[in-house]
């Protein structure tokens, strides 16, 4: 009946016959989403999950009894031979889990932020470079149809020399004092607006423009949280002279869902984009665009994914990971090395703001 053969949560043979065994560490909101997406890939079977929540383990025992459950990820890595490990736990736990997964010689997908320091990110990246897996961090904006288009246009030099920019992100994650309880409300566990939202805005900047030379005037301002900031503001300078700002606020109720907004001005025009729409103002016709304003909507540039759960980018990043794990010779769009640069910029912001990690 279907023109595609579906692998709805049951094992099947992949096209080239190789079936990757996956384990998930952390079955919270993102872990569950990744589980649903990974399970739909024809070459992947989720065989094990490590999570210490009693509810999740009972749910999984009941509904997916064939998946092996562990309360301890080290035990999972020791007892189950895995090709892939997907880590979606609070960020302060990532380092040890990545180390253990590297020891087990699995490919690794770890949620953002990669770690809590550039130093640890560099160490893990260096370790991974002597191994043969694929190593990816969950910077999902790199897989968004509109931002991918922006990347393609910038790489083609659509704006010429870049002068200035803004990378902003807004959302309503923390709008009361009580919303900041748990790991998300504490910088020590990888929470706070800088690690949670700011990492996305910074990574998008690094993805599109590369690593900046300098960060100045950083303010980390709490509104509701007591152990972390809710607003991040900073200024950035590149060695080519381009300057810009980053504003990130996860306590803005006027946003229905987390939204990244970017604006980049260059000698030939300006590019503005969010997850759904890209606007381009050009001082002269360039590529296929006219002089003046051009609009590119997501409906113009999207490519469909095999299975949609939360947006094309969420599926695309997980399939990208699975496909690189099948063939690690292909480059990864959101590698440990990329995420290390982002982590170093986060470090620069923390140091500039005089904040403790």
């Amino acid at each position: 009946m279907n023109s595609k053969g579906f692998n709805t949560a049951s094992p099947g043979a992949s096209e080239n016959g190789r079936m990757l065994k996956a384990g998930i560490v952390g079955a919270g909101r993102m872990g569950i989403t990744h589980f649903a997406i990974l399970g739909s890939h024809p070459s992947v079977r989720v065989v094990a999950i490590a999570d210490d929540s009693a509810l999740m383990s009972r749910v999984l025992t009941k509904y997916r009894p064939e998946v092996q459950l562990f309360s301890d990820y080290e035990k999972m890595l020791k007892e189950v031979e895995l090709d892939l490990v997907l880590i979606s736990t609070p960020p302060h736990l990532h380092g040890a889990m990545v180390d253990a997964s590297l020891n087990a010689r699995t490919s690794i997908f770890v949620e953002k932020p990669f770690t809590l320091s550039g130093e640890e990110a560099r160490r893990l990246t260096a370790r991974s470079q002597s191994l043969r897996g694929t190593y990816q961090v969950g910077y999902v904006n790199r897989f968004n149809d509109v931002f991918m288009k922006a990347k393609q246009l910038l790489d083609a030099g659509i704006l010429g020399k870049i002068f200035s920019f803004r990378f902003d992100m807004y959302g309503r994650t923390v709008t009361r004092a009580s919303s900041s309880s748990g790991w998300r409300g504490k910088r020590k566990t990888g929470g706070g607006c800088l690690y949670e939202f700011g990492s996305h805005a910074i990574d998008l900047m690094v993805y599109l423009l590369g690593k900046p030379a300098e960060v100045r005037g950083s303010c980390l301002t709490p509104v509701f949280s007591t152990d972390a900031e809710d607003i991040v503001r900073t200024n950035v300078r590149y060695s080519n002279g381009a300057t810009g700002s980053i504003t990130v606020n996860w306590s803005d109720e006027s946003y229905r869902k987390p939204t990244n907004k970017i604006e980049i001005l260059g000698e030939d025009g300006k590019l503005m984009a969010d997850q759904h729409e890209l606007k381009l103002f050009l001082s002269r016709p360039k590529l296929s665009f006219v002089k003046g304003w051009n609009t590119v909507n997501i409906t113009d540039v999207f490519t469909p994914v095999d299975f949609y759960v939360r947006g094309n980018e969420f599926t695309r990043q997980i399939y990208h990971f699975a496909e690189r794990a099948l063939d690690a010779n292909q480059s990864n769009l959101s590698s440990f090395m990329d995420a290390t640069v982002t982590q170093e910029v986060i470090d620069m912001v923390l140091a500039d703001a005089g904040a403790e990690k």
Binding site: M1, T8, A54, K62, E277, V305, F307, Y308
Partner: protein, 290 residues
Amino acid sequence: MIELDPIILGDNQFFGINHMSQVKAQQLAERFNDMRSIYDAYRTAYDLGIRAFMLNSNDKAGEICDYFRAHRSEFPELMLYPSIPYPHKYANLVAEQGIVGAIQAVLSGHSATDLLGFAGKGLSLLTGDVARIMTMLIDVELKIYRKLDFKVVYLQNIVTDLLLGLGFKDVFVEYCAHLEKKYHAVPGFLTMNVPRLAAYLESCGIQNAVLCGSVNKRGYLMSPDVASYEAYFRGMQRYPMTAMSIFASGAIPASEAVDYIVKQGIKSIVFGASSRQHMQATLELVKGHA
């Protein structure tokens, strides 16, 4: 087999949701900030002959249902198509309190009677009976629609598609059974994966269900691709279907969009419109193709 209304007015436009442009979404959120402008739009739609409204159980839906109950004489033939839950409410709660905390907050955040009932039912959380938790959540979500007519209840695509990916078969079965038994309603599923979901529901032995998914020739929000949808529509369609996103959030000219739907043999659409002019134009187009 259930007769779906051929034309259903959706609600995204009232709540600042637009899948193509956040600028448009913002404009709509401002325009419909005042509840009266939403009621005006519903009255206009009803005047024009639209009898069916899809209404998501979001923050404002309770007030809208109060309005329909209070003005029953103005909407005598009203048929609602509830869609549950409001995903962002849960997403935010889960971000704040974790999955267990979010479920507890929703189930306990209602009346005192609910709270008493919940104390007895709290066991479901500990036994990990997702199906039971889900039926309790359905009851909580459907309370706002009490004493209003509905024959289908849709599960939001984020939940449908997550459960589909997770392969929680029994949850699908239990959801359907609960709606049929307690509400005499046909279980509906919003989904971005129509062919995959249809195949899965069949494998679950679920025969009585309706689907609502995007159908447009651009393939926007249609996974895995247009060809698979067209193959599904050409095949033995088991589940009645309402098409959404037929204009791909404005990317496809209206006439072409309706043409495409008719060619796929689809007899029911849900569309968003905020002005009399747009509603009327869409109605005339659909009637012209009928």
